[in-house]
Symmetry: C2
Subunit: 360 residues, 2 copies
């Protein structure tokens, strides 16, 4: 593990994040290491439990590499869960078979929040940084490795609700009824997320992404006060180097196209988009401040091959022959999707963008 790391053979993804020209649009896919792959399901079965899979660096490494081995993807992403942080804070994460995540000790009072502290990265989350180091080593420089975390607001939702939620009644009520405690919790989570992503960068992550999955559940003023503000704090606090060595940061607030301009001012290098935004409109709105990542509706992978091809081509042309586009879906690939359809999507984006850039 201490051998020098191989030089990066494919830097399209990092170049696009820095809005530098590329020969073709880089592609990676949210949840690319996941249940839609039979090889993932085999490793998952071997692990015995989802938690075991996340917490065993060798297994997390194995599944992180699977999509990169199978498809011509331009980036790998760490396999982990967004709830590692609350678990490290002592909330007791578990996954019942066929159900969502559950916390044994959710935040139920102001006192529960006041009791929380910054987890220790080495002792509480070392299994994640071990996985990052192992994946970097095993990638042999083929493509860059992305680290990630949930956003402060999204983590707070799970921590307060105790698991998934349809309406976030408890989490939103905290914002309304005790905003001071909410801000204290979110400020602590922003520091924790920055430290966690910083540890992933120190271990070898070449880009990092923050998933603000539940930003879109908030009213516009609450999104700005309780989600975006702490995305800005993560960006400000994150130790990620300087100049050419600076590690790019991607933010993705799902369902928050209303605030694209504000997202572009957070200090992030790239903004994730879902499919309710057009790439050309988005590019006009953010100008040359940030790169954009997205944004095809994943459900197209249930449609026929000509529809998949058409959506890939449309995305490439909507963005146009400009630097700064990373192709992705607007949400994670679903467990029941056909891997071969993903291959078609990737190949079409690569081919179409190569032709567009060659002719531009």
């Amino acid at each position: 593990m201490n051998a020098p790391l191989a030089a990066l053979a494919n830097d399209r993804f990092l170049r696009a994040l820095k809005r530098q020209p590329v020969d073709r649009t880089p592609v990676w896919i949210m949840r690319q290491a996941g249940r839609y792959l039979p090889e993932y399901r085999a490793t998952r079965a071997r692990a015995g439990s989802f938690m075991k899979l996340c917490q065993t660096p060798e297994l997390a490494c194995e599944v992180s590499l699977q999509p990169v081995d199978r498809f011509p993807l331009d980036a790998a992403i760490l396999f982990s869960d967004i709830l590692t942080i609350p678990d490290a804070m002592g909330l007791g994460l578990s996954f019942a078979e066929g159900e969502g995540p559950r916390f044994a000790r959710p935040l139920r009072s102001k006192q529960d929040i006041d009791r929380l502290g910054l987890p220790d990265m080495a002792s509480d989350l070392g299994y994640v940084t071990d996985a990052v180091r192992m994946i970097r080593h095993e990638l042999h420089g083929r493509v860059p490795l992305i680290g990630f975390s949930g956003s402060p607001w999204t983590l707070a939702c799970y921590m307060i609700e105790g698991g998934g939620s349809e309406h976030f009644a408890r989490a939103k009520s905290l914002l309304w009824d005790d905003p001071a405690s909410a801000h204290r919790l979110l400020a602590l989570l922003a520091r924790t997320v920055a430290a966690y992503l910083g540890a992933q960068i120190a271990a070898g992550a070449q880009a990092v992404m923050v998933f603000d999955t539940w930003g879109g559940a908030l009213s516009l003023p609450h999104y700005h006060e309780f989600s975006l503000r702490y995305l800005r704090e993560v960006a400000a606090l994150l130790p990620r180097g300087d100049g050419a060595a600076r590690v790019p940061l991607i933010l993705f607030s799902k369902g928050c196209g209303h605030s694209l301009e504000a997202q572009a001012e957070t200090g992030a290098d790239a903004i994730g988009l879902d499919w309710t935004i057009a790439l050309d409109d988005a590019r006009r709105r953010v100008g040359d401040r940030v790169a954009l990542q997205g944004n095809v509706d994943p459900v197209v992978l249930y449609a026929g091959t000509s529809a998949i091809r058409a959506e890939a081509i449309r995305a490439v042309h909507d963005f146009g022959p400009h630097p700064g586009h990373v192709f992705n879906l607007g949400h994670g690939i679903h467990p029941t999707m056909d891997p071969e359809k993903l291959r078609l999507l990737i190949d079409t984006v690569h081919r179409e963008s190569a032709a567009l850039f060659a002719s531009a």
Copy 2:
């Protein structure tokens, strides 16, 4: 039932929809006749089934009046289900206890779509117009009565999926794989929705609303091609009188704040807003073309009384002392919410807006 109808005692709601000045902001609440009311649950229990409740005009009338009897609301809304149209088209609607709607004969092929025809309003949907007539009569002109329908796209979702759906894989695949059949289905549904709302107007509905609950699930180009286009058709085809007697039309595409300007050009009199849009921004974007309805996050009704008061006051001031605001939540009230908190919300909007208009 043939006695002349009483003159309207409270016309605030209709005046606001026409952007005329009012003494205070009118309030009604989506799902105001519903499970959060103990008197609704009593009638529902007496009915035996949800379908029976919808299809028995006396019972539908009874529950439509309950919220108006209890609260100082400025409008009543017909109690019904948005899936009456597909049921009338022969798809066989049922509700299993504790589950969502199910169709016995969902649309599974092009042939299933080609076989559909316009239902007969009198024989297939007469129970709805009977309920409208009865509610109008029983209201004695206290407040206006709103009729409603699901939007063509939203109805198509349920008809293709066979019930509720998380990702709309079948419905969206039809748009991608066989757009011609999708357009045929949506055009038929637009004619049907217009005829259905026209029949409700003929029976006495004084305003009508179209719920495009799943517009926000679509990509931006698909929203315009497959949802908004057919909202425009409904507006164009709807027989709703002329001049001062013209019956106002409200459109609500949930999660589609991205296309507010286009919604304002459909021919509708008012546009519904969810809480991800600020009322002042929305007013600036649509100018004086349409009234606006909304938009407080319903989840605030789970929070404390001072938060509820603050959200009501904020909504009134966000819109400001201009004509053309109907207060509502941004989504229906939840079954587990406390009716007394709704009373506080209504009273606060009334009081705050009366003070604002008096001082303006």
